[in-house]
């Protein structure tokens, strides 16, 4: 390394010059050494003439990766770029796979007490020693994300949590090193914690979760996906202490039972207004209709409800839930095969805020339910509908397409007419008239005959429990008044996106004709629309599908027609295509390569 000699009688900013001896790293030719470099005032770069604070502010405009490159220019730049005030937020998302562990530590140490947000998601290279170093230097961290940092140990996490008492958001998901002792520490030290994600930590027990509940009363968002031991005692303690909880994820907690959920809600009931708005109970396979009853009675503000994979749920539960909980916006009912059109109609009659409804693999949903949902129900804000593997046919696509192309006022009038007809589209009479749903429980009287559901619903929503001879005015009077209350407002045209993968009764022609009528208000994602994308060179990735241009070769068209006719012959019972299963027929030449099931 060669230091350039700068004559001291030059320049009006002596301080800047003497602080920055410019150094050249690496071999230098002799000619450069023998030349005397005269540094005059004009040859100092304008950047270096600025005060330090302004230089730091300019550096603050650079993204993190560029800033790290700037540290290699000279000592002065290194000092400026590693100034703590520039690193209040470390987000390694763009470069977590490339940055070495020492560099990460250097940034962390440089940030020091300024560090507030530390997102180390995916930094597998972060070691326990590194985390302990960071814990010594950075006590003011408020947001910490250590998801998938598998190199750290329980002890180092404990060190960090002991020091960083200002944490608000903590993500420790997927780490096997998180144990009950860690959670005890969380409960003791992190009293201001607002969001906690300890999903998929396999070594936790109920004791740790209880410690968190007792110690962190301000928690608003708690993710306990895959937690193995959520019994009644734990859930009741969660309900008792976490009074501000708004997001709760208990996906894949297969041990969760109805009683545990009830214990949680009962403890929460002591609060004046339960705040729970997002509830994820996917794959909690032991939950039954009783849980829906508990949810209906205790969660008054629920907007997002995920119930995919809770296979024991039936129409009874949803018919109980729908009139009582009217705030739902996203509802996921994938794989609930016991649900029929009755549930859909009940939702259609009672959920004005519904935006997204997923009915994938609900094999008993047929045309009439969907028609009622889109055309005649109160779900005016419905935007996404997933009907994979349902028994809907082309007719419903056609009906929806025609409906969407009507001017909005006409749509509204159509809905009003339907609602005012004497109970024809009310959920009561559809039980008698629906012939497509094979399972027709007497849901009208379900609420009264089954003792379990015997509590009376609120007086304003009595559509499902009124006596069979329905008077025309009782059912949905509030809806008609609501509809009339917006007389001259501008009504936006509705947009709907429908997903109909694997529906054996939907054909390509049906999809195309519906799209031809109603696109762009209607987008349909289907096997055929995907294949059109592929053949059309996939010019855009989105699901919007215009009518396919006719410049295809004949062969693909014939091929697709064959596919569609073959699909048409699939009966309802045979819902799964089996294209990849070897039949084990005789005469297969390469037995070793066959998949034999």
């Amino acid at each position: 390394m060669v230091t350039l000699l700068i004559p001291s009688n030059i320049s009006s900013n002596p301080t800047t010059i003497t602080e920055t001896p410019t150094t050249i790293k690496g071999p230098v030719t002799t000619t450069a050494i023998t030349e005397t470099i005269v540094v005059t005032k004009e040859s100092i770069s304008p950047f270096l003439r600025l005060p330090d604070e302004l230089q730091i502010r300019i550096f603050g405009q650079l993204p993190a990766q560029e800033l790290l490159k700037a540290t290699a220019v000279c000592q002065k730049w290194k000092r400026l770029a590693f100034d703590g005030s520039l690193w209040t937020k470390i987000d390694v998302t763009p470069f977590y796979s490339a940055i070495p562990s020492e560099q990460l530590l250097r940034i962390g140490v440089a940030a020091g007490k300024f560090l507030r947000v530390a997102n180390f998601r995916g930094c597998v290279q972060l070691t326990g020693h590194g985390l302990r170093t960071l814990s010594d230097h950075c006590p003011n961290v408020q947001v910490l994300n250590l998801k998938d940092c598998r190199g750290i140990s329980t002890h180092s996490i404990a060190c960090f949590l002991t020091n960083a008492t200002q944490l608000r958001v903590l993500d420790l998901s997927g780490l096997d090193t998180v144990k009950d002792s860690t959670l005890m520490l969380v409960g003791q030290r992190l009293n201001r914690l607002e969001k906690l994600n300890i999903g998929w930590c396999r070594n936790l027990t109920g004791q740790g979760v209880q410690a968190v509940a007792r110690g962190c009363p301000e928690l608003t968002c708690l993710k306990l996906n895959g937690c193995p031991q959520l019994n009644e005692a734990t859930m009741s303690i969660l309900g008792k202490h976490l009074t501000r909880l708004s997001h709760l994820c208990l996906a894949s907690c297969t041990g969760l039972s109805d009683n545990s959920l009830l214990a949680f809600f009962l403890e929460q009931q002591h609060q004046s207004t339960p705040l729970l708005s997002h509830l994820n109970l996917s794959s909690c396979a032991r939950l039954s209709d009783a849980s829906l009853r508990h949810i209906a009675l205790h969660c008054t503000r629920l907007t997002h409800l995920e119930l995919a994979g809770c296979v024991l749920l039936t129409d009874q539960g949803f018919c109980y839930l729908a009139p009582r909980l009217r705030t739902l916006m996203h509802l996921d009912l994938e794989d609930l095969q016991q649900i029929t059109g009755i549930t859909v109609k009940s939702l259609a009659n009672h959920q004005p805020n519904l935006r997204r409804l997923c009915l994938s693999n609900c094999t008993q949903i047929a045309d009439d339910a969907i028609t009622h949902l889109v055309l005649h129900g109160v779900c005016h804000q419905l935007q996404h509908l997933e009907l994979d593997n349902c028994i809907v046919t082309d007719d419903v696509l056609d009906t929806i397409a025609i409906f969407l192309t009507q001017p909005p006022r006409q749509q509204q009038q159509q809905q009003q007419q339907q609602q005012q007809r004497p109970g024809r589209e009310g959920s009561s009479s559809t039980f008698a008239s629906s012939s497509t749903s094979p399972v027709v429980p007497p849901s009208l009287s379900a609420d009264s005959t089954f003792d379990f559901f015997s509590s009376s619903p609120p007086a304003s929503a009595s559509t499902t429990t009124t006596a069979p001879p329905l008077t025309p005015t009782t059912p949905i009077t509030d809806h008609t008044t609501d509809a009339k209350a917006i007389p001259q407002e501008k009504i936006l045209p509705r947009k709907l996106s429908v997903e109909v993968l694997d529906c054996s009764n939907i054909t390509e022609t049906g999809v195309r004709s519906a799209l031809a009528k109603a696109s762009p208000m209607l987008t349909i994602k289907s096997f055929y629309s995907w294949r059109d994308e592929e053949l059309g060179q996939q010019e855009e990735e989105e699901e919007d599908e215009d009518v396919m241009s006719l410049n295809l070769r004949d062969q693909p068209r014939v091929r697709r027609n064959n596919m569609s006719t073959r699909r048409r012959y699939n009966t309802i019972g045979r819902q799964r295509r089996r294209p990849d299963v070897a039949a084990g027929a005789a005469g297969q030449p390469h037995a070793a390569n066959c998949i034999i099931l």
């Binding site: 998929w200 997001h247 994979g309 799964r576 390469h590 099931l597």
Partner: protein
């Protein structure tokens, strides 16, 4: 080798590996859910992340001879399906460069804010 860095998907509805919970595919890349894999129902997917490709081999499936390569999760190593590399018959050409992912090996995840 050493520990493998997982990739992350920016979407809010994704499916992840049941063993190690690394992101595998997003909801938009599902083409069909009605396929059958080795162990049960499977999805046909156009794009996956965090998978490693195995050796390619010729397999005789019910629909004909295909060249496939098994895919496994790059973080935990569990086999999650296979990728179609080449299909001999014209009617099966649409599957090429698509992946079959077993439903039993993936779990649905919805990200609300994290």
């Amino acid at each position: 080798m050493g520990k493998r860095q997982p990739a992350y998907l920016p979407d809010s509805r994704i499916y992840s590996c049941t063993t190690c919970h690394s992101h595998l595919l997003s909801h938009q890349s599902i083409v069909s859910k009605a396929f059958q894999g080795r162990y049960g129902p499977a999805y046909l997917v156009s794009h996956v992340v965090n998978v490693t490709l195995g050796t390619k081999e010729e397999r005789m499936l019910l629909t004909g001879m295909h060249t496939v390569a098994d895919i496994s999760c790059s973080v935990c190593g569990t086999r999650i399906g296979w990728k179609y590399l080449c299909a001999l018959e014209e009617s099966q050409k649409y599957k090429e460069s698509k992946y079959i992912v077993e439903k039993a090996k993936i779990a649905k995840e919805v990200m609300w804010d994290f």
